[in-house]
Amino acid sequence: MRRTVLLAAGLFACALAQAGVRLDDSLSPRQRVEATTRFLYEGVGNWNADQVSALVAQVRGMEFRLRTAPYVGKNAEIYLTVADHVSGLKSPTAMRLEWTTRGRFAPGSLVPGTRALVYRGKITDAVMSDFFDFTIYLDARDWERGLEFDPVFEIDVVP
């Protein structure tokens, strides 16, 4: 009995620490995509310092397939999030992620360390999928080297 209580307490603490249950996206066809930046403001122009350092990269048609089977029949919110520490970036505020979708999930934007709602409603399918077109905005002044980040989906069951 005591062992069960301890285990339950541990898992509860674990759930609190994660603040949202991470969804399994291992069914997604591509686990790694690569992109290259370009200057957002090109050519001769009276650019200010922010504009001179503004970069953009695009990732088209990245499909995510989320295993939502455990939540079928429940009302839930699904969020997209990116960890606040992005490898290669000095500051999380130097990056902003925007995306559009094909309609299953909602478009939106976020900066590392935050999350954005992409779905709210009843979960009806064991696997939910959509294609994401990402546009990543970066500030060259805070970029030290090639960077990597993991878009992660979290689910919250709601009443």
Binding site: R3, V33, T37, F39, V44, V52, F134, A140, W143, D150
Partner: protein, 192 residues
Amino acid sequence: MKRFLTVLAGAALCAAAAMLAHAATVAIASGPGRLILQVGSGTTTINQVNISVPGANVGDGTAVASTSVTPADPTCPANSILIDAQARSQTNQPRTATLTADSSTPLNSGTATIPFTEISWASSTPGGGPNGCLAAPVTIPSGTFSGASGQSLVSFGTSQRACVCAQFSYRNTGIVSAGTYTGRVTYTLTMP
């Protein structure tokens, strides 16, 4: 001991949950840097700086400033041209760009020549307008051509911009044959 094992098992489950389904990764590489150099009005025409020396003053050492620029440069004051150099990098790793001039071929009028060491320029900050370099923090100093290739005019770091309006003048230090002398200076911007 049992309690310790139970806690350990809980921690392992927690770690496993955190590692559940390794997320997809987006990897972004930096693209190349960019050099932007504009000398003159920005059209495909090469601007011509005209200097007219009165016959009575030839060789008297009194400098003569340019009397016209064709086509006129809308960004700069009359009789001067824009020199706008930008170096941009896609990371915060410092790089240095250098603007050089090649004035090794002298002005000539038939077989008579005038070395470009007789040509100077005075720099001023552009006053605004389109491409007015309002945010330019780097000045290209006033100077005199060296008459050589690879004369360094200014070096500056990435994400900076060197920008001036240059008014050219003839130093008028020697007696030369009468005639219309023409020549060309080539500017080059490099970033190793």
